[in-house]
């Protein structure tokens, strides 16, 4: 079949945006779109409309127990299966990035990744869209996780899941030049707590997230690697 004209593509655009165009018609339309930015824009705009239509579908309460079943499903496999699952996951870039926390958190029993260097080895072409990860550690052990999104707006998310102390902790972001910016305070109960919020972080200058107690003593720190070390990134690939 000859390549579609713009008029023919316009006629197919609604069905293409709704993802209901049959195979051969879809292929013809996509071929046209490859070389026609104007039609690409039109289909993109219609796709937004299609997405918003689905958003109008009413919510519904799932059956009792649904939440618990889903949470169980999001946990790692049984220990005997872990030996083959970890290398399999390590071979899959997206799965390794998304599931690494559960996998390795299970291995150290505290819900936190135990060894990011061996896990998050993937790289991305879109640095500005990556969440940066570093373990929160004391001098002896890992007690939590720190995630930083250096986008616009930038934010930080911290979780503590180790120890027994109950306290109010203060978080500050420390830059490579040594300057520190307080970003928030949150309670820790029996070693557990989490907090997230806006934080002025820049991928090129971020060095450490530091948690301190009310007296200024360091509770835990998360050391972020420099840009030249991609190992601590959790990528966000284009869909």
């Amino acid at each position: 079949m000859a390549e579609l004209t713009c008029q023919q593509c316009r006629e197919a655009a609604a069905e293409l945006a709704l993802d209901v165009l049959p195979g051969h018609e879809r292929a013809d339309a996509l071929t046209h779109l490859e070389g026609c930015p104007a039609c690409q824009d039109m289909v993109s705009a219609l796709t937004v409309t299609a997405d918003r239509l689905v958003d109008l579908v009413p919510a519904a309460q799932p059956p009792a127990g649904f939440e618990q079943r889903v949470i169980r499903a999001l946990r790692p496999p049984a220990p005997h299966a872990r030996r083959w699952w970890i290398p399999a996951a390590a071979g899959l870039v997206a799965l390794a990035g998304a599931a690494g926390g559960w996998i390795l958190g299970y291995s150290n029993g505290n819900g936190a990744p135990a060894d990011v260097d061996t896990q998050a080895t993937q790289t991305t072409q879109a640095d500005e869209r990556t969440v940066i990860y570093a373990p929160l550690t004391t001098a002896q052990q890992q007690i939590g996780n720190a995630y930083v999104y250096p986008g616009t707006p930038s934010w930080i998310y911290l979780s503590l899941d180790g120890g027994t102390a109950s306290n109010t902790v203060h978080c500050e972001v420390v830059r490579r030049d040594g300057s520190a910016v307080p970003v928030g305070t949150f309670p820790v109960t029996h070693g557990h707590g989490s907090w997230g919020g806006p934080a002025p972080v820049d991928r090129n200058t971020l060095a450490t997230a530091r948690l301190t107690d009310g007296r200024g003593a360091t509770v835990a720190t998360a050391h972020f690697r420099s840009r030249s070390h991609p190992d601590h990134r959790h990528p966000q690939h284009p869909r």
């Binding site: 219609l46 109008l56 579908v57 919510a59 799932p62 998304a98 999104y149 907090w195 966000q236 690939h237």
Partner: protein, 196 residues
Amino acid sequence: MGSMPVRGARVGRMSDDMLLAGLGAGDAQAAVAFVRRFQPMVFGVALAVVSDRGLAEDIAQQAFERAWRHAGLYDPRRGSVRTWLTRIVHNLAVDAARVRRPAPIDPEDLLPLIAAMTDSPERRALASETSTQLRTALATLPAEQARAVVMAAVHGLTAREIADAEHVPVGTAKSRIRAAMTKLHAALPVPRADYG
């Protein structure tokens, strides 16, 4: 990005983006909060498409598992977390419906869904301006166009399947879909490409 959380907020009050980051990274509290926040939407979309509560439950669970595994694929520049998750569950549900659909959809069976999508006071109270405008535009479409676009957008029916259900020529079904989408798109307060 979604709205930013209040400083000191608990996990349940964090932004959608943060919860997704926590879910993907393996944070148990974030996972619970994420599921709790989105389960009515996810289950609602699945149920609307497959019309079977058991199957909808399975699909909704698959959607959360997929979101967990692929949280790293989320790109905030391409839409909200809610839209991303809606696409996941909708695609799963449409695929399931295509496999098991026993008979063409009766257009009359769409009326309750269209009514819920166009006139739901409690949802209107919480809805964005965009949703309200789209809801109004859908309500003012000719009935045959509203059915056509809902069959395509929600149930994933092709023009031929819609034509079979409505007992009209395929060209007529295509025209109805196109006309409906043109009107709905024109109703949205966003920069629009010229098409028609």
